[in-house]
Symmetry: C2
Subunit: 195 residues, 2 copies
DNA sequence: GTCTATACAAAGATAGAC
DNA sequence: GTCTATCTTTGTATAGAC
């Protein structure tokens, strides 16, 4: 049986991912978990603390998964890049889902300092990780980039996050698949840049 | 002297762009304009109506500017693309500014239906417009795209919106400039794709 | 660990004077 | 067109029983 604290975190994360942190209330979380409002306070002393715990867990899980794939000698650069697409493609199955940190970026100035820091670390980590993967793949001749690994990594992270948000707004799930496919064709070694 | 309704719209837009719609209140708007809460209601009967008016004005202004440049025979494809970067680069001057619709995309499911429709139309219009520009430029041999105009246009819009949000989160203004520069090098005719 | 009850502030909105 | 005053709901958070 699942721990109540975990259950609360799951409910809060889903609410933030869909409605945003400002629009989420203890009442919403309590209703989903099937408890009363004060029971949440027993596990998380304030709404800010709950929000920070949600983002920290999300960021740490993501970071651990990315580090594991990067350090797995079985995975080549292409497989590693494809692994990075996986969560985005899972978000694409539903019209409503976006990345937790992408959703929070829209209201970042209204968030408590602890949450802002977690979201910032999330993006910095993703950009550094992808830059490293692109550089490795480029060195091995697997990727052909039209610019340096750093700006290209930033372009890709921004495009994937932006595509999730636009997808949910327009309701066009194909949006995300198109962007992922375009990124693939963008780094494909067969598409050598000549200049 | 500026009309009060316009003043209210300006204040509300700035508040939504920074904190988000859910976190914005009549009190915040009233304080900025220098009036009391009920005076706002006289101009906009509800918070939802005010929010919808803000997004509609923003979308219509943007659409008019884009259409004007597209239909100006003086502007070639490159100048038109550069024109599209202008507002994004202006957002880049401040660490806090993002596109109104990019900010709203994060909390889209918490918005009233009228606002959701406006944000959707904003993105659909931008994607169609940019697709058309890319196609024209490609036909004239000015742009060299690594994929069809439609997916490339979607990638660019998503990347620009995502870059604004990431920029504000990390506080790194260079983020946006890098992405714009990467997009430029990405369509440059000198960088012909060979496959 | 969960509950009832409650405190306190802030929200959106309305009525009616000026 | 703007104000004061007020209504009603909802928010976060606390106190204390079980």
């Amino acid at each position: 049986m699942r721990d109540t604290a975990d259950h609360i975190l799951d409910a809060a994360q889903d609410l933030i991912q869909t409605r945003g942190f400002s629009a989420m209330s203890f009442q919403d979380v309590a209703d989903r978990v099937g408890i009363k409002k004060p029971s949440i306070v027993h596990h998380f002393p304030s709404k800010n603390a709950l929000g920070e715990a949600v983002v920290r867990r999300y960021r740490e899980r993501f970071a651990a998964a990315l580090a594991a794939v990067r350090d797995d000698p079985e995975q080549d650069a292409w497989a590693t890049l494809e692994f990075y697409f996986t969560p985005y493609l899972e978000f694409a199955h539903s019209a409503e889902k976006v990345c937790l940190c992408g959703a929070l970026a829209g209201e970042i100035l209204a968030l408590p300092a602890g949450m802002r820091g977690e979201v910032r670390r999330f993006f910095e980590n993703h950009q550094r990780w992808l830059e490293e993967i692109l550089e490795t793949g480029q060195g091995e001749g697997v990727f052909a980039l039209f610019d340096a690994p750093r700006p290209v990594a930033r372009l890709f992270v921004a495009a994937l996050q932006g595509a999730l948000l636009v997808k949910r707004t327009t309701g066009d799930i194909g949006q995300l698949l198109e962007v992922v496919e375009t990124i693939r064709s963008c780094v494909r070694a067969g598409a050598k840049v000549d200049r």
